[in-house]
């Protein structure tokens, strides 16, 4: 074995030893309370619309739209990135994070025009979520069809 190959074997463990690790416990706690707060807010909005006479399906739709609006507005105001830095998955996974992924890409690529910039690049990050979301829900739908 030559010297480079020897180093190739040893080097990754050297890097692991020196590189700092993310603090999983703290990150999880932060994600938990921020993510929980966003979901509680969603439930709160949902309850309000139910109280004002909307049906369950209508209220769910309005709640999603409200949260998407909130996520988009906070992205435009450069606030969502600050929340995201603190909360990680806690703010990325709820629907507000989905809005953030689309609006941030749209804002960033507006410079390349409304068609090939904003229009095409808006799905750069959200695209996989949509693709695999649809595939997963279709698969689950088929399974549900057969077991019921």
């Amino acid at each position: 074995m030559n010297k480079i190959d020897q180093m190739k074997n040893k080097y990754p463990s050297m890097v692991d030893e020196i590189s700092p690790k993310n603090t999983v416990v703290i990150n999880s706690l932060r994600a938990f309370w921020v993510g929980g707060l966003i979901c509680t807010l969603g439930q709160f909005i949902n309850n309000i619309f139910l109280r004002y006479g909307f049906t369950t399906i209508e209220a769910a739709g309005i709640t999603s739209v409200s949260l998407i609006f909130l996520g988009s507005a906070l992205t435009a105001l450069n606030v969502y990135e600050v929340i995201g830095k603190y909360a990680g998955g806690g703010s990325a996974i709820p629907i507000t994070g989905f809005a953030n992924s689309m609006v941030s890409a749209a804002v960033e690529h507006k410079a390349e025009g409304y068609v090939f910039g904003l229009g095409a690049k808006i799905f750069t990050i959200a695209g996989p979520v949509i693709v695999y979301g649809i595939i997963a829900s279709t698969a689950l739908g088929i399974i549900y069809y057969f077991i019921h």
């Binding site: 590189s19 690790k21 992205t75 990135e81 830095k85 703010s91 941030s104 960033e108 410079a111 990050i125």
Partner: protein, 341 residues
């Protein structure tokens, strides 16, 4: 004319002089530990432009204008520009220099580009092909994030090993005659890839290349680390530097005491939230042009080995599972020399 010695080194017999430098940086760099050294600082990242890319080109243009002024030259006096940046097809540089009408060699060595440009410029002058050559590079945090990572407003967490791309540009004029500091030797790096594939840990990907070039420089020249007052790498940052010290030690060279890194010097990680340190073509360029050059001139260091480091990846190569090839170019800079004629 210079001569080639050892495997990768050139000794410049008529060492060209760096007669002027200029640096322009954004607000974050200006409020960092080296803030007072930079020649021009901007109030925001856009500097009156409407895109990050245009802003980067403005950094390039204004830095070149300033360095030519400082050297008391006109742009017609500059015979070549060696320059590059991180944006696709070197647009940051090309659009920045298009009004100057100076013959141009576009150079890409990722974040090692400043040392690469200076190497080529110095060899051109030493070889008698030019009297005045300009070497410059730039990078822009927002432009680099957009191209290599995520949109600016996306709420993500950066790992602790991540680095912060410097918004800035640095330029030097290398001349046949002048009072120094002089570029006396050059060790050109080769691609070294020890199998690191995490693009958020570029210091680790580049450290083996830095070690390779520095060790080769000592072997080729027969020098030991004592020859230098300072060895400064480009953007290994905190963890890359630790790895470099270890790797050099394995080869029998103890460089820890005289070693620092542009990416470590430029930010205060505690107050500026930059994690491991700075990176980007503009990191080594602005730190060299702003801080190192001025301190060498003052006499704080007489002999400096400037080793800019580059991670030669693209967003596509990482997504295809490729590891990150590293490179490092070393340029020896000495304050005073007796000219060999």
């Amino acid at each position: 004319m210079g001569k080639h010695i050892g495997k990768q080194t050139v000794i410049l017999d008529n060492p060209p002089s760096i007669i002027a430098t200029s640096s322009t940086v954004g607000p974050k760099e200006a409020s960092g530990p080296l803030g007072e050294y930079f020649d021009v600082t901007t109030e925001d990242e856009l500097w009156g432009e409407d895109t990050w890319e245009k802003a980067e080109s403005k950094f390039v243009k204004e830095t070149i204008k300033d360095v030519i002024d400082k050297a008391k030259l006109k742009s017609e006096d500059i015979q070549y520009i060696f320059a590059g940046d991180l944006l696709n097809q070197l647009t940051g540089t090309t659009f920045g220099i298009r009004d100057f009408n100076i013959p141009y060699f576009g150079v890409f060595g990722a974040c090692s580009t400043m040392a690469e440009s200076m190497s080529l410029g110095a060899m051109t002058v030493d070889g008698g092909f030019a009297d005045y050559v300009l070497a410059t590079t730039s990078s822009h945090f927002c432009g680099a994030e957009k191209q290599f990572r995520f949109p600016m407003e996306l709420g993500t967490q950066r790992p602790l090993t991540a680095q912060w791309t410097v918004t800035g540009s640095g330029a030097v004029i290398i001349a046949k005659e002048g009072g120094g500091p002089y570029i006396t030797s050059i060790t050109t790096g080769r691609i070294v890839d020890l199998g690191i594939s995490d693009p958020m840990n570029m210091g680790a990907a580049m450290a083996p290349a830095a070690a390779d070039t520095i060790v080769q420089h000592f072997k080729d020249t027969g020098r030991s680390p004592d020859y230098y007052d300072l060895i400064i790498t480009g953007d290994l940052a905190e963890y890359g530097q630790k790895l470099l010290i270890e790797l050099a030690k394995k080869e029998g060279y103890n460089i820890g005491e005289i070693l620092t890194d542009c990416g470590i010097e430029i930010y205060d990680p505690d107050s500026q939230d930059t994690h491991a340190g700075g990176s980007g073509c503009g990191c080594s360029a602005s730190v060299f042009a702003g801080y190192l050059y001025k301190e060498i001139k003052k006499g704080r260091w007489n002999r400096v080995l400037f080793v800019a480091t580059g991670a030669m990846l693209s967003p596509g190569s990482s997504q295809q599972g490729e590891t990150i090839p590293g490179i490092a170019h070393a340029v020896a800079i000495e304050r005073g020399i007796s000219k060999r004629k």
